[in-house]
Symmetry: C2
Subunit: 592 residues, 2 copies
Amino acid sequence: MPTYTAPTQDTQFILHDVLNVSEATTPGYSELERDFTQAVLDEAGKIASEVLAPLNAVGDAEGCTLENGVVRTPAGFKAAFDQVREGGWTALDLPEEFGGQGMPYLMGTAVGEMFSAANQAFTMYHGLTHGAASAILAHGSEEQKQTYLPNMFSCEWTGTMNLTEPHCGTDLGMMRTKAVPQDDGSYKVSGQKIFISAGEHDMADNIIHLVLAKIPGGPEGIKGVSLFIVPKFMVNEDGSLGARNGVSCGKIEEKMGIHGNSTCVMNYDEATGFLLGEEHKGMRAMFTMMNEARLGVGMQGLAQADVAYQNALIYAKDRLQGRDVTGDKNPDGPADPLIVHPDIRRALLDQKSFAEGARAFILWGAQLIDRAHRDGDKDADGLISLLTPVIKGFLSDEGFDMTIRAQQVYGGHGYVEEWGMSQFARDARIAMIYEGANGVQALDLVGRKLAQDGGKHVMAFFDMVKTFIKENEGNEALATDFLEPLKKSSKDLQAAGMYFMQNGMKNPNAALAGSYDFMHLFGHVCLGLMWAQMARAAHEALENGASDEKFYRTKLATGRYYMKRRLPATAMHLARIETGAEPVMELEAEAF
Amino acid sequence: MPTYTAPTQDTQFILHDVLNVSEATTPGYSELERDFTQAVLDEAGKIASEVLAPLNAVGDAEGCTLENGVVRTPAGFKAAFDQVREGGWTALDLPEEFGGQGMPYLMGTAVGEMFSAANQAFTMYHGLTHGAASAILAHGSEEQKQTYLPNMFSCEWTGTMNLTEPHCGTDLGMMRTKAVPQDDGSYKVSGQKIFISAGEHDMADNIIHLVLAKIPGGPEGIKGVSLFIVPKFMVNEDGSLGARNGVSCGKIEEKMGIHGNSTCVMNYDEATGFLLGEEHKGMRAMFTMMNEARLGVGMQGLAQADVAYQNALIYAKDRLQGRDVTGDKNPDGPADPLIVHPDIRRALLDQKSFAEGARAFILWGAQLIDRAHRDGDKDADGLISLLTPVIKGFLSDEGFDMTIRAQQVYGGHGYVEEWGMSQFARDARIAMIYEGANGVQALDLVGRKLAQDGGKHVMAFFDMVKTFIKENEGNEALATDFLEPLKKSSKDLQAAGMYFMQNGMKNPNAALAGSYDFMHLFGHVCLGLMWAQMARAAHEALENGASDEKFYRTKLATGRYYMKRRLPATAMHLARIETGAEPVMELEAEAF
């Protein structure tokens, strides 16, 4: 049975040594003193390890069941959900006005990683509620906020997002779900939505569905889509629950993973809905949440990679198999532990250097979101908008790959379900798909974000890298090991961007054919930057005589590994990008 | 529900246009005329598509069940097994003396790919029997051959390989299963073996287990391991079945995939066994089969990649989503098919160029095995011995990655089990693990095979590449698109080999730290060589006015894609290799 230990020391290092959060002027940040965040993370880590992690395999094995319209979640989920909810964890970073704790989004992200690593399927129930509540918070009327938010913040009611239909996912302009206006200002919503996570379950008194639908007579395509609140049970004026609404779960999908989360086909049959935000502006309302939702999915990639790594490491230290070629390390035992073998270390260091770099990337991204929202910082908003597809696409791709490496350390034991390594891989797989499949992220990055605001944000990113290198070039401890590889990889990224500029105007396919490679190239440069920043912080800590010398020395060695062994991927991605459209486009569809 | 179409035209192209098999002097090859192989492949393809493929999802959903010691295979498996067996497919390439069809191993491999693509879990039942029968053929006494082979060739009895124990897989020297000599020359075998594919099931009258065990008092470690034949039912002198032997299935493992194959814990309790080959030479007997078994696993990687690709392609042509950025391709429809999008094409071409390159690699490898066995060609034997870990490790890694890409084309539909794409990925995953996990393949390649016979075989490989480039350098159609990238990538491979030579003597870890990258680097060069050879053959066919011009033109475009977009990986692998031991070895185990 796998275990999970919250990475509190590492999170604290990033928050305080790298991001210096408590010195930031963003509202709410001054409270994030080291002791305070330590206390929050300790408590969250305890729940993750002791309450959520033990239910992870249970959720996978039992899954959710639908009987007579009622969905039953796996044994133990409801009690754990009550515990999480009662601890106030479901609205940690939501406003106090409606019962939240009012902490920065940054803290919600740090805690979210822990819960997600411990039990992704479980954490999605309140994660989606968080998203739906945020949408109502941003676009709802005062009455809607009063009606729904307090119970959604506390997760006594949960929320869902309904976008996909059987014939359309990415291309939502084709949707068929209709919302017909009624005399009382409400709408009758009819249609079928699929892949609705937490669409129906037994852990909450009510479920508040946010549903995209078209109002008949509105504009064609995506411009005619509106967003509606469709509660499972109608809410009376006094806040009590009324009649069952015309929405029901038609089926639970059998999936590759996240079995503990009920993925539902939802049927809307003249269900009463209430317009959220403006008519035909439904996509805009949805997109308000997109940066957070996609950062959350990138975080899931990190989370599964980290828990899988933790268990692979335990196994590699424990399992005796073969001998160190340079001399026995466990001469009194029948064999040496796996971790003596260079290729096992290669697999472990790929995972470790990814997870720690990704954690810094995610937390920095969360800080940018706080700056955008709490400071109204437009530059931060533009930068996170640019980085969002990289965070989502690169971290979920790499996160999945890392779970595969972790599984591989177990040999045959990794393939049988008993050891739990298969579940990490199967659960991690979904992050590459939902909230916009990673190919769509790459398209968003290259087709939209790069040129956004005249390319201002990508220039700001390059400036950041350049400034960092310049500020530290006198630091010999960083120069060869960190600054040089960062410079080289960032030049590859610039060259790729240049290639797109020069060729993409004439032929957009010349850029789009390289979009996936560009997303990965960008991701590596970001992680390279994170590692350079972490290395600087670690050096400073060592120079200042930090007590936990071992932690900082390990941090530096792990960073050197990333710079030396992972960053060389950027040149390959550039080489692919520079082959342009032809290799990808020349074949007729019929010739495939 | 996924479908499968046998790649007969492509296999024929490789056999006849590239490998020119019927002109080879290897015994049995002259019979492999184009019409003959077409007939065999057509028939095999029909069984694969019509009998095996429809049972693939059934096997996955039902799995195998153990009740009162009896294992039930999924519905339909037994009838299909009878059909395959009655068609003579289970001993296509085994000697006629015991009822086989006597064809070259090459043909067994070509057919094996089809069966495996259609239903990997099913095909393992007779695949393992093939392996066990080959071991008896190579090492058995005349009496053992007469007793077991006819029924094993026809799969009325199936076979298994028993190596792994709970505490040891790779490091078999630690095994605890014992074989105590009896007065009648037999042995009493006791112990527990795990991960025994097809260990117990209901499709055959008898199961012939080949079991590795130690004879008490023999040498320590791996040098004291012997191989035994342990039948489920004893075989009487007249060939009829006698008493049940002391072997039973204790448990069926729950696995990530290949659910249709029963993966058993096998308990041996003073079971009667018969020595196969010599005492304490059990590993040697096992290793006789290793090249074939590992080539077979590499082939499974190709097979799952190909069937997944076929279905992704169908979906990409069928599913309407979004518009071609350069202008609508389906103006009368609500959207364009997925295949108009550059990134979808990138994913499809990665798969297509891998599958076709891998098919050529596998078939060339099978031809080398035939040369080694049928011609007694020591150079061929040395070369396939060198290439075996590359075929196994690289093709199973890449094959799995390609199933992930295929699954991704489906978006959310790829994650639900209904569409079958998840199964391809879950089934393909095992090939990276069994028959020696891929890290062990990399170790075998770098630690053993590279230097074998004084490095003669790797030099022969480089000579082959050089000769091919030299012979074709006047061919303008090949020069830029194929020969240049092949030359470049093969230089990367040579540089990596040189690095190992110069640094590995002083510190073996300097080579082993790069072993996994070397395996992939080598794999890409092999596929590059295959593509260059296929391109030459396609050009020749076009110059000779071949009727199916479209096939050859597509072949060339697919090859150009591989050379341009995939081969640049070699430089990255070289860069990683040249970082040596330090990044991998510097951290103490405790510091991870």
